[in-house]
Symmetry: C2
């Protein structure tokens, strides 16, 4: 029962991910989304969009990776993709030590491995998971009239530069994103560049 008690401590601890808010708004614009519901959405994207990955891959592994990838934010906070990343890496390592360390050792190893694989971008699954994580905010931003882009003074030039590694996971989703960003510029939701 000690094993189950440790597992449940982890389950209770990660409830806090529901209170970590991202910069992105819900599609209906009602509020900013949190990292737990975002992780759910990404797992759904993995299920629905796997056929658009550059390589055939283990979809279940992509799902496990995206479900786990933001848990470190419970301690480290959400770092905005367009902000200075500061000591994000160190903060997240310490968070991983503490939070995955709540689990029994074999599961700590498994979960930490999934998170490190995601961060490494070294496998087809990790690259596709990262591509989905880059892709979904573009959809949210476009469908909320560029709200989060506008709040942070983001330009199309920066969006394209910061997200181009999406193509390592899915050329199809990257091409679709480029078209969407062009449309956002044409519709006045996003300035092309600083000027």
């Amino acid at each position: 029962m000690d094993r189950l008690a440790r597992q449940l401590q982890f389950i209770l601890e990660i409830d806090k991910l529901k209170s970590i808010y991202r910069r992105t708004y819900l599609v209906d614009g009602e509020r900013r989304e949190n990292s737990a519901e975002h992780s759910w959405h990404l797992a759904m994207l993995a299920m629905v969009l796997a056929e658009h990955a550059n390589q055939s891959l283990d979809v279940a592994k992509v799902m496990r990776m995206v479900l786990v990838h933001d848990i470190v934010e419970i301690d480290a906070g959400d770092t905005y993709i367009y902000a200075d990343q500061g000591d994000k890496a160190e903060r997240e390592q310490r968070a991983a030590d503490r939070i995955f360390g709540l689990l029994p050792p074999d599961q700590e190893h498994e979960f930490r491995g999934l998170w490190e694989e995601f961060e490494s971008a070294a496998t087809p699954e990790a690259r596709f998971a990262a591509a989905l994580d880059r892709f979904i905010p573009q959809l949210h931003n476009y469908h909320t009239q560029g709200r989060s882009w506008k709040e942070h003074g983001i330009t199309a030039e920066r969006v394209l530069k910061r997200n181009e590694e999406m193509s390592a996971g899915s050329v199809i989703l990257w091409e679709w994103t480029q078209t969407l960003i062009e449309r956002a510029v044409a519709e006045g939701l996003l300035p092309r560049n600083e000027s």
Copy 2:
């Protein structure tokens, strides 16, 4: 590209699950939780607790099932487990028609199949998924001093009766739950019965 367009329409539509609120509170008591973040939490439970299922099972399938199982609530709403279930089944069938119907036909079939399997409780995966769905609210209720139980006048007798089918998925989690409910009664969080 028509296929991708349909998939993205589904992805955008299911964002609404983040605005469907359940009766259960977050573990920190801050607010009620929504069905999207709840689905994420369940998928994490599937990953962490699969070893406690009565039968060996396909964990990835349990995960896919719990990620999908509440999507019908976008149209049908969340039906409280202790309330009259009314025309829940019909409402949810219509919701499944509309929402899964946004997907390309092969994926509509796949997602609807997952949801129907969950509802049927006919496979080890479905029974374990349902057990997790019954299990987690007990944890949330206990750790918020029985808040949602108190708000709805629930008794230990009703909790035990309404959730005993948990044992079909996991005797271990069901026994653990019975102990937790006993503790909740002893601590005055939950009356034993109407009196």
